[in-house]
Amino acid sequence: MGKPEDALVTLNLVPGSEVYGEKRISVENDGGEKVEYRVWNPFRSKLAAAILGGVDQIHMPPGSKVLYLGAASGTTVSHVSDVVGPEGLVYAVEFSHRSGRDLINVAKKRTNIIPIIEDARHPHKYRMLVGIVDTIFADVAQPDQARIVAINAHHFLKNGGHFVISIKASCIDSTAQPEAVFASEVKKLQADKLKPQEQITLEPYERDHAVVVGVYRPPPKQQAQ
């Protein structure tokens, strides 16, 4: 694109507007039309770090439905909203009211984001708002994160759907080795029919972070492979 450096970008769902002061890049596509992208900073977003770290799949194709736990102010959520596009949906759950206010404002401009200010530990509280989803993304930084993902998967994740979880070792156990923490979290996931398929660390963007990607209740034929 004639830029001095490489950057991860997403196609802006709402051209002309930015969400958190990120850079926008306008280019002409093959048909001579102008299209706008937004730069996605891996130092500010664990999902972006995972993508640049070389994760194989984030399982959020255009048109897919994503349940996003730990949506915070909606910065990464806005990129997921770009990625799933106008036919997709992002159910964005955030418990903090302070971040939630920003999230609601992001969702006002992006109608594929459904803001849910509620505790991800109690999915039954927001069961009226969420349909079945293709993928769960979780960045809740809580010691019981594996359980939180499991109960949300049981409510909302389709059979054969995927999960993408960011694990911060020090949030689970600050005294243990990060590798040991990641291994024990993976075990907990497996116990709840969440089958991990891939794990990467987020170096050099984050320290002692891992992202685990896997499948929920895989269909039998896939297991045989």
């Binding site: 949906l89 159910y91 009211h97 302070r98 939630g100 206010r101 999230l103 609601i104 969702a107 006002k108 109608t111 459904i114 803001p115 849910i116 200010i117 509620e118 039954h124 509280k125 927001y126 069961r127 009226m128 708002l129 969420v130 349909g131 079945i132 049981h154 409510h155 909302f156 389709k158 059979n159 054969g160």
Partner: protein, 171 residues
Amino acid sequence: MSNLYILYEHAAGYGVFRVREFEEIGMLLPQVEASVSDISRFNSVVKLVGFSPFKTAVAALESINAISEGILPEDLQHFLDISIPKSGKKEKSTLGVGDPKLGAAITEALRIPCTHVGAVPEIIRGIRHHFPNLVKGFTAKSSAVAQLGLGHSYSRAKVKFNVHRVDNMII
């Protein structure tokens, strides 16, 4: 004989489904698990008894505020009262619900026994999966529109009534 009904709460309204006859509750679970992804097979497991749409956005918000706290809203009580046949001598009706607290409230108000275990969570998963196909005149699009509207009003109300609002602004 026992009839199992299922309550499903959606952003657009309440649905009551009847689970088709089955021999034993233990037999049901594997059957439901296998059918959950396939609409034609799932259709042989449940049948829509009734759907009661929310009349206004305000009514929807009042309902979700109650439901999320396990309180039985008046409109739901009325809807269940007319949708679920009273347990007689020969036939018993049980209602499957997603939240035990709401189940207890329903039992107390309407004398309908409720359950939230066994095959019930799995059937609710299936209903969630196929909901736009189970209710006539409903589409994935209209389902999302209802969720979007209610998500905004529910979340806005949560943030608005936060007593720490002023402190939060200073930080």
